[in-house]
Each structure stands twice: as C-alpha cells, then as structure tokens.
Symmetry: C2
Subunit: 357 residues, 2 copies
C-alpha cells in the first residue's frame, strides 16, 4: 500500500501584495528564506517520501513557475486545476488521481505556502499521521499548539491525549472558525484548542467515502473524472468538469461534520504566513527590531518590515511599518493593518489597474 | 540707469530627496505646480523686467536643464558657476558681470526655488525694492511677515515703519540666525521680526563697495574677473578664479555687518520650501488632509504627502507620513522628521551609493 504526499499549491496569496501577484503567488516567494516556500515544502517531504510519490496540485496558469521552481518533479506528478475551487475539490481531485495509482493507498495533503521552523519535529508528525491514517479508517490532522491568541486561524477542540509519547495524539472534538480576540485568549488558557494547520492524512478510499457522504455534488463530478480510463484522459476531462464543481473548503465540507478525527499535536514552529506581519513573528530581527530585505537605509526606524526588490528604500522616524516594493508598486502599511491589503487589491480591481494585480 | 533681476539658481536642494538629486536640484522640480520653480520665478519677473534684463546664475553642470526649462533666456544672460560658493560670491559675480552692462545700474537678486502664492503683492514689493535701491545708496531687502513660529528661517529685526503705504518700509536693525522654538514664538509675539527671504536689491556699485569693505578676499577675486576686457573673457576666467573664492553667504558676509538697510514688509504667501513638510503648509489638501501626486491608492491615510513619479504607491493605516518615489528610490518619512533627509544622503555618500545622490 503506497503512501503519497500531496502539496496543495493553487492559492493566490493576495495578502503578500505587492510581492505576491496573480502571476506570482505566495508559494513561489522566498519569504524569509533562500528558497521559495514551495521549494522548501517539497524538499521537506523528500526526506520522508519517495520522489515519485510526491504530487502537486497547482493552477494550470502557474505551470511554468512550478517547472522553474521544481524542475525535478515529473510532469505526471503535477495535477493542474483549470480554475481554483478551494480545498475540497482540490483534495477530491488528488484522491481520484491517486486512486488509479493505488486504491488502497494513503495520502497526506499539505499547503505549499506555510513556514515550518523545526523540520525534524515536523517530519515526525508527518510520519506518525501517515502511519495512523494507513492503519485506521479515520481522518487524521495535525493541530498546532498555539503560541499566541491568534484570531487569524481556525482552531480544533481536542480531548485528552490518547497516548503519551511525542507527538501526542488526541481525539478531535470540533473544528471551530476563526475566533474573536476574547475567544482566542480563552482557547489559549483552556489548553484543549489547537490551531488548524490545514494538514490532513487519510486513506484515499476513506476521504472519497466522506466526500460521497457530505459533498455528493462534488463526488458526482469526481466520479465523472474517475471514468476516464487513464491519467492522461483524466487530465483532459478536467477542463470540462472542474469549473462545475462546488467551491468549498475541506474543513467546512467534511472536517466540521465528522466525529472520528485523530489530531496530532504539533509544536514545530508553524505559521501559515497569513500577512506581512507574520514575518515579524517568525524571522530574526536586527538590533532595532527590523526585518530587512534588499537595499535599505534608515534613520530611527523600529519594529518594521522592509522589503525591496529593485529600488532603494529610505525611511526616517517610523516604527511598526511595513514597506514593500515589488514590480512597479510600493506598499506602506501599519503593521496592525496588514490584513487590509485585500482592500487595496479590491480598489485596484475597481480602478481597472490589472497590471498591479 | 538699467534695472536688472538676478535669479540665483545654483542650489542643490538635498531636502527634496529622492525627487531632488545632484542632476535635478529643487529649482527644476514642479513642486506643487505645473511649471518648475525656476520657470515660475522667471515668469513672475518677466512682468516687471525686460527679458534681456533678467539674468540667471546657475551651476555649469545644470546648463542643459536650464536651457530645457528656460529656452527663451539668451545664453549671455546665463552666468555659470563652475562650483558652488554660496551667495556672496554668486552675487559678487553677478554684480561684476552686470557692471559691464551698466555701472550705474540697480539689481535685485532672488532665489530660484521659493514658492510665492500672491504674485501681485510680490511684484509690488519687487518694484518698490528696486525703486528704493536705485534712488538711495543703501541695501534693500524684503522681509516676510511670519505666519508661524518657524525655526527653519533666519529673521530680521526691524524698527517701526518709516511710511504707511503698502508695502511698509522699515529700517533694518539686525539680521538674526535661525532661532529655537521658544525664541521663534517670542519673535512672532513681538511683531518686529520678519523672515529673511533672501531677496535683496541694491545698486551694483553699492554692493561691490560693501563686498570690498567686508569681504576683501572675495573682492580681490572679483577684481581679477573685472579685468577681463569683455563678458566672453570674463566667462573664460571663471573656471580659474571662482573655485578660489571664499564660500560665504551674503547674509553672514555683508547683511549682518551693515546698519543702513531698508526692509520692505512682504505678505504675499512666501515659503522657501525647505523640506517636504513645507508642501503641506502651502498646497491644497484632499478631504483626508493628504497631498497626492501620481498613482496612489490608500486605505485610512491621513495628513500625508504622497508623490510618485513612476510606481503605484499604496498605503494603509498611516498618518503624518511622507512617501516619495523618484528615480529608483523610495522615501518613507514621518512629517516631523523631514529635516533628517540630509542624514539619509550622508549615509548614501558613506556607502558609496552615488547613483542615488
């Protein structure tokens, strides 16, 4: 029985604008590192999985980028979505695809654009998640021990640990949506809430059965793809079938509705890098608390994030500021407002400034 | 007896970096207007002086810019300084040059890079200053009624008004250096202190006599230039003589040492545009108190100055911020720190980043 890793890399990552763009989503950026996030994600998995068992789901329009960043991944291991349809169709598509490789197989799915600081601990969790998933008929996920009352993540409520050895395994009680600050503090204090990492492991047959049960419309579409006699025909049918699938997350479509979930407690320095501010929580800073990339001169600049691609950035007398230049655009944003980058993108859409999207 | 206007345009204007550069000083920028500051200065003077009586003193390396901005000024009316030597040598050179045109003539000298809002009132002052200078053996200057306790300007202490008609004429008591804030408030309250505008009128013979009296080294250099039999030879001698002249301002070298000064009180909306912040004191703002030039999108941006030459600037959740992009550099500066742009330039010099100077 084969064990597959599936990297979900279809996201657009608007929140790292102006560095992330439609043609250059977050997973292809080298945020706080030498390699891009997708390169780091695949490289980590190569320590556990055979190269031929690592699959990617990407947007078809980013294929040139994927080939540039991961030239060693065989083309047949890259599944392309003609349009984005959130994680449930993405996962369903990968399961349908891998079923043809080994219907008894197990898969772990992971986002391509997260930051992981302690690789060893992370890989331990991955191994254990796949082991549990391959030997049980249950859904497995990795939850992250919260390090702050974060309101930008979903949480998983868990029971007491089932085992004592690291990483601990808990029974999942409930997936909960992003809380307000008050609730997030309660979750921290309670201790039985973990961050939802978006990493899941299961047998291919098990997740497809759950999709059939909870998302019948999606399942019907996947069945149509499944009829294709081989992988090449499946790829060809995607253009027709995929756009008609319902756009829904696996969290909302499946995980929130099932009761038999195993949750591994992960403590490996994880962040989904949801905004520029996340960098300051994960990267080393200079003596003034600044994170600096590119050509910069500063006078009295504190606790700021500076990133320049091609210009000289000079700053004077500012603190808690994000200054990012990329590809003909400059963002200046207070760190407390980094979530509002989406409002800038909305305004640019309204103004028809497509070259900056 | 001829009346000349001399526009001093040799300055470098570092304080509007990154828009002002060595190759593009402030007087060639169109700060808050359609035309450049030097174009606006000359255009104002053309309403009082014959075109052939308007002269410019410029840095030789900016000649191409001068010709581009002022193509109608005859080349013989443009006096070039091979190096910058502050205002006393600049004025001495112009006086020596104009003496060959009319030794009995009167000249008014004005900086090229100041902003003037009420042109009519300004021209009244200019006419009156030249009239007084041409009929008396005294130095005349225009002082500006202060509108705020500005610490960035020098002041002139004046006596009671000599006449009652507008613009009032006062006897100058003392030129005083830039005050601290406490003193500046006292000057405002006192009412007998005006801002030093750097605009002066006098007979050519009178200013040369004062230079001979107070700045003998400079006078000696000017005499050598004066020996040249014609203007063409004078121009040729400049390269040799000018660099050896003492670098000193006319304020410090002459005005602070003489007692017979007539001061016209000017109230015509004047600003020497000493920093980016000066723009917000002189230009109309949008409903959020912002001054915006170029391609900009903002979310919750207040009381800020935004200027883009070629990129899109986006800002979120900032106030009292200067954001300027020009020629491969971006400045982000708190409005209260705009004077520190010079520190950025010093750092760039230290780092050898000459292409940004």
């Amino acid at each position: 029985m084969k064990k597959f890793a599936v990297v979900m890399a279809g996201g657009v990552g608007e929140r790292f604008w102006p560095k992330s763009r439609r043609h250059m989503p977050k997973q292809f950026l080298n945020l706080g590192g030498k390699d891009s996030l997708i390169q780091r994600t695949v490289s980590r998995l190569e320590k556990v999985f055979l190269p031929e068992d690592i699959y990617l789901v990407v947007s078809s329009k980013h294929m040139p980028l994927v080939k540039e960043h991961l030239p060693h991944i065989p083309e047949n291991n890259i599944i392309t979505e003609p349009v984005g349809r959130n994680t449930a169709p993405c996962i369903g598509l990968a399961a349908t695809y891998l079923k043809k490789k080994d219907p008894e197989g197990t898969m772990i799915v992971l986002p391509a654009d997260h930051m992981i600081l302690d690789e060893e601990k992370f890989l331990e969790c991955v191994r254990k998640a796949v082991d549990i998933a391959s030997s049980h008929e249950i859904l497995v996920t990795i939850g992250i021990t919260p390090t702050r009352p974060e309101t930008g993540y979903g949480y998983i409520q868990i029971s007491e640990a089932i085992n004592s050895e690291e990483p601990a395994v808990h029974k999942g009680i409930k997936f909960v949506e992003k809380p307000d600050y008050h609730k997030a503090v309660q979750y921290m204090d309670n201790g039985n809430y973990l961050w939802n990492s978006g990493i899941f492991a299961w047998k291919i047959s098990v997740i497809l059965k759950k999709i059939d049960e909870f998302l019948p419309d999606l399942y019907k579409g996947l069945e149509e793809l499944d009829k294709c006699s081989d992988i090449y025909k499946l790829k060809a049918s995607l253009e027709r079938v995929f756009p008609s699938l319902p756009s829904i997350s696996i969290d909302y479509g499946v995980m929130e509705r099932v009761s038999d979930i195993a949750v591994l407690r992960g403590s490996f320095g994880w962040d989904d890098l949801g905004s520029w501010t996340a960098l300051s929580e994960n990267l080393p800073k200079d003596e003034n608390g600044n994170i600096i990339e590119g050509n910069f001169v500063g006078v009295e600049v504190e606790n700021s994030i500076i990133s320049s691609s091609s210009v000289l950035i000079a700053a004077i007398g500012v603190k808690d500021i994000i200054i990012v230049e990329a590809d003909g655009a400059v963002l200046v944003c207070h760190v407390s407002q980094a979530q509002k980058v989406k409002e800038i993108i909305d305004k640019l859409k309204q103004k028809g400034e497509t070259k900056y999207l």
